[in-house]
């Protein structure tokens, strides 16, 4: 499905990182796994360091801390926020929505919309699309899109497939109108028949958590996980990305009447270095145009990875000048979405550390 938006821009961004840092090689010592293989994984996949929350820390804690910092530093005003869109798959509660909890904790005005969106790694691009649509309303002048998960809390410490890769973080993106900004093109696809590729089987209404769903089971290669944990079929995800993402981006560029050479950067979701290099190879995009260094610094943080690519590589530049970028997110659902836009001349782009109060 194709979309077109006019007169919108990202005016500011912040990334909120939990302070706790883990080292891949240190963690792999907890698994019965030869060190030479760990080193190879580090080299090929880019697994190195990641940030995770302390026990008990929720998405709203990171988001409230980040927004409060922006208020305190005069980068954003409380009363300006007309909508909070929160993209997360690790909500604080089933009910109410976590965006409402954030509104309440920060004492934001009542004359606003709070909406949770249950989306995975395509959630930054899809969240932006929702923000643009809200900005079609005259009464909505500023939308705050929050992307974040604390998925490390749902990963089995005994599952080598996923545990050492997951990072926790929240990103805050301020979106507003700007008549001068170029037309934004976007497209998206969804395939619910492949919903079980990335799933937390238990803990919802279909399979409530019980002592039974907390039991660790061997899923092969000595990896143990429970129904309460996040499951990922890694090779199915790999095939999905290699098959679906290149045609999506090609179609987006064609619709916009442009080509790879005219795009400054391809800012993709960051599952690991290997997958991004294969994606670049397949689309004949030079590696330097598709940064892949989020995982080695912070881990795979779900829908917050695109804001993190921007903060990590272009923090100064996006405050100074405009770049023509193609963003692409892909993951659970399954869902995949891409967007072509002018990014830059932001009022702020900042990285905020979160220190948990004990």
């Amino acid at each position: 499905m194709n979309f077109k938006f006019r007169g919108k821009r990202i005016s500011g961004m912040a990334v909120v990182l939990p302070e706790r840092e883990l080292s891949f090689l240190e963690e792999m010592k907890n698994f019965n796994f030869p060190e030479a293989r760990s080193l190879k994984l580090k080299e090929v996949m880019g697994y190195n360091k990641r940030r995770v929350v302390e026990p008990g820390c929720c998405v709203s804690d990171l988001a409230v801390h980040g927004l409060q910092q922006l208020f305190d530093r005069g980068l954003l005003k409380k009363e300006e926020i007309d909508a909070i869109l929160l993209v997360t798959q690790t909500a604080d509660h089933f009910m109410p929505s976590t965006s409402s909890l954030i509104q309440g904790r920060l004492g934001l005005k009542q004359d606003m919309l709070c909406l949770d969106l249950n989306l995975a790694c395509a959630g930054f691009v899809i969240g932006l699309m929702q923000a643009f649509m809200l900005l079609e309303q005259e009464s909505v002048k500023k939308v705050v899109l929050i992307n974040g998960d604390v998925l490390s809390r749902k990963a089995s410490p005994k599952d080598r497939n996923i545990y050492p890769l997951i990072g926790d973080a929240v990103s805050i993106t301020v979106v507003e109108r700007d008549a001068s900004n170029a037309t934004i093109h976007a497209n998206l696809h969804m395939d619910g028949t492949r919903a079980e590729t990335l799933i937390i089987p238990a803990g919802g209404m279909r399979m409530p958590s019980t002592p039974e769903t907390a039991k660790l089971e061997d899923v092969g290669d000595n990896n143990l996980l429970a129904k309460d944990h996040v499951f990922m079929d890694g090779s199915a995800v790999f095939n999905f990305v290699q098959t679906e993402v290149p045609p999506m981006i090609e179609s987006l560029l064609a619709t916009a009447g442009t080509t790879v050479e005219h795009i400054d950067y391809f800012l993709c979701h960051q599952p690991n270095r290997f997958m991004l290099q294969k994606l670049a190879d397949k689309m004949k995009i030079p590696y330097e145009k598709m940064p892949n260094n989020v995982v080695e610094n912070y881990g795979n943080t779900g829908s917050a990875t695109i804001p993190m690519v921007i903060a990590l590589n272009f923090q100064e530049r996006v405050q100074r000048e405009k770049m023509r970028v193609c963003m692409a997110g892909f993951g659970g659902g399954l869902a995949w979405a891409s967007m072509l836009m002018e990014l830059g001349a932001m009022d702020f782009n900042t990285t905020i550390e979160y220190k948990q109060k004990s």
Binding site: D221, N239, Q242
Partner: protein
């Protein structure tokens, strides 16, 4: 498909000198989940073959793997 070239590429993935058609994959040192992923990528990029990880896990020898890739080649 040039099988000799395929075995050479497989050897590179497995970080070994040579892979023979009769070699049993599971007995090769470097045959792990990363190798499976690398084979998926190789099949996709060099041969335009879309293979599932389950299909790779089901094959026994390097020759079986070469045949699988060839059968899925577009």
């Amino acid at each position: 498909m040039n099988k000799q070239e395929f075995y050479q590429r497989l050897a590179e993935i497995l970080d070994t000198e040579e892979v023979k058609p009769e070699d049993t994959l599971k007995q090769l040192d470097g045959w792990d989940s990363l190798a499976v992923l690398s084979v998926l990528a190789l099949a996709d990029s060099k041969y335009g073959a879309s293979i599932k990880a389950d299909e790779i896990r089901a094959v026994v020898t390097a020759a079986d793997l070469a045949n699988l890739v060839e059968s899925k080649k577009k």
